[in-house]
């Protein structure tokens, strides 16, 4: 599904991502773990295009997306949520979901002359997605009024509703209360059942280890381990990297 080959990115002298290569299989949940500053979010930025690579290539199924812009990669089926969820301050929950769902909403002529979309069946679909992440906020509620946990759920709902082949989730449970944490783990299980391919950055070991099919460990920008959760838990390099990790 996603093949990353000899990816490099450095800021001045610091090698944030140093010669990383791995493959992500379709229909599996792959976790990306590593101590702070290991380059996890940088790797995500390189894949989603928000940062330019210094070397190496990224392939989504057959096409090489290394040179594509953020928009192009997203339209090729890459959905992403943000670590610090950043809702659109002046838009409502419904707007957010419609933005994620629609592909040709930025066309000019179509919007001037064609009738605007019929509300009813769209609403049903949006409501259904919100229920899947059990976010009970009304559709016309301004996103700025959502709580931190709710905006995290909204971020995931947008990633789900966005037509995609691969979902990149950046620390979905960072700083959320236990109830929301439970909901998100429930959502991830359902995603796997539906054969979705999910690539998750997460610090919370208790949360991610039972869920993940495969785990990639990053340390100082280099990939030091890649395997099933059980292998990773005994892997000497990972333990060394975390230095008495709480495993």
């Amino acid at each position: 599904m996603l093949t990353v080959n000899k990816l490099r990115k450095s800021f001045g002298g610091l090698h944030a991502v140093d010669d990383v290569s791995f493959k992500i299989a379709r229909g599996k949940i792959t976790a990306l773990i590593g101590p702070n500053g290991a380059g996890k979010t940088t790797l995500f930025n390189l894949i989603s295009g928000t940062m330019k690579t210094d070397g190496g290539s990224i392939m989504l199924d057959a096409d090489d997306i290394t040179a594509l812009s953020i928009e192009e990669r997203s339209r090729r089926g890459l959905a992403r949520s943000f670590q610090l969820s950043r809702p659109f301050r002046n838009l409502t929950v419904e707007d957010h979901l419609l933005l994620a769902l629609e592909r040709d909403d930025d066309l000019f002529w179509r919007n001037i002359f064609f009738k605007r979309e019929t509300k009813t069946e769209k609403h049903k679909h949006l409501r259904e997605v919100l229920d899947r992440v059990s976010l009970d906020a009304p559709l016309n509620k301004p996103a700025a009024d959502l709580s931190y946990g709710q905006s995290k759920l909204l971020g995931i709902a947008m990633a789900m509703i966005h037509p995609h082949q691969l979902m990149l989730l950046d620390e979905p449970v960072a700083g959320v209360n236990p109830v929301v944490r439970e909901t998100i783990s429930h959502v991830l299980r359902k995603l796997r059942e539906q054969g979705e391919t999910v690539f998750v950055i997460e610090h919370d070991m208790e949360f991610i280890m039972p869920l993940a099919d495969e785990v990639i460990v990053l340390d100082h920008g280099r990939m030091i381990a890649h395997g099933t959760p059980k292998e990773i838990q005994q892997d000497p390099d990972t333990l060394h990297a975390y230095l008495g990790a709480q495993l």
């Binding site: 989603s48 928000t50 812009s69 953020i70 928009e71 997203s74 339209r75 992403r80 943000f82 950043r86 809702p87 659109f88 301050r89 002046n90 838009l91 707007d95 419609l98 933005l99 994620a100 629609e102 592909r103 909403d105 930025d106 066309l107 000019f108 919007n111 001037i112 605007r116 979309e117 947008m158 966005h162």
Partner: protein
């Protein structure tokens, strides 16, 4: 008769209403602080004035040519400022305003420089003020309808997303540059239309008619009326065009500091609105914070 003066003011209100909607499209809906806005009005006005006085083309050809040229230049500027962000962008667009002012002032062979262009003809069929009012009211209604549909459609939603969080909008696959270009071109065209109509209504233009003071006038219209609000812009245009002229009717103490006092009242009103009611009367939008791209 007082009605003639009222009609005169209503024509100005309609023209500045169109200009206000054009500026609100870029500032209120698009989040782009377009301080070079008067430059596009000036391009529309001068194109139409030169074509109708020098080359004696019919007025409507002049107005449409003014719109097209203003739209093209606005698109070109959109491409140029693609990589500049934040406050530097606002200042550079202010610089664009100066560029158009300097060219208007010094390209004597074409724009007659500081002497301006007198004797700009009015359209045959809409010659006197009342018929001209009818023409501009129709154009204002069309612009309002057009902008209402544009901003209340999914295009408007995408534009709002780009205004609030540019990066997040791109991650959702919205083609930001295309959308921004469309906004530049549409806003440029409408500004060109307003400029051309003003030229044909007043029948005389010079570079000074499109300078900083007029920019502050249009800015205060949309800040008082309301950012990103079609009815708000119309109300803002109504208040700002009629109010100062009404003061002129009822208050005419011939003291020599009257002018300065009027200037103070005008800027004070704008300052108070921006400080205490940043959304204006009907505004719905909070523009991105000045600290947004600092963290």
């Amino acid at each position: 008769m007082i009605i003639d003066f009222i009609i005169f003011l209503l024509v100005l209100f309609a023209i500045y209403g169109i200009a206000g909607l054009a500026l609100n499209l870029t500032l209120g809906w698009g989040g782009l602080i377009n301080l070079g806005f008067m430059g596009f009005l000036s391009i529309g006005a001068y194109t139409s004035a030169i074509l109708t006085t020098e080359y004696h083309l019919p007025v409507f050809v002049g107005i449409i040519a003014g719109m097209i040229l203003a739209a093209l230049i606005s698109g070109f500027v959109g491409i140029l400022i693609r990589t500049i962000r934040g406050d530097a962008l606002a200042i550079i667009l202010l610089g664009f305003n100066f560029t158009v002012y300097a060219i208007g002032l010094n390209w004597n062979s074409v724009t007659r420089g500081a002497l301006g262009i007198p004797g700009i003809p009015r359209p045959e069929f809409f010659y006197d003020d009342r018929r001209f009012l009818f023409l501009v009211t129709i154009l204002l209604l069309l612009t309002t309808l057009f902008l209402y549909r544009l901003t209340h459609s999914s295009f408007g939603r995408v534009l709002g997303a780009i205004r609030d969080e540019e990066l997040h909008a791109r991650v959702l696959g919205k083609r930001m540059f295309r959308v921004k270009m469309i906004v530049h071109i549409v806003s440029g065209a409408l500004a060109g239309l307003a400029g051309a109509l003003l030229a044909h209504f007043i029948r005389f233009i010079d570079p000074a008619s499109f300078f900083i003071h007029q920019l502050v006038f249009v800015l205060s219209m949309i800040f008082v009326g309301g950012l990103a609000s079609v009815p708000g812009t119309i109300i803002g245009a109504f208040i700002l065009t009629l109010l100062p002229e009404m003061i002129r009717v009822f208050v005419n103490l011939p003291s020599d500091i009257l002018g300065a006092i009027r200037g103070i009242i005008f800027s004070l009103l704008l300052l108070l609105v921006v400080m205490f009611r940043p959304k204006g009367i009907l505004g719905t939008v909070e523009l991105p914070s000045a600290y947004a791209d600092r963290e």
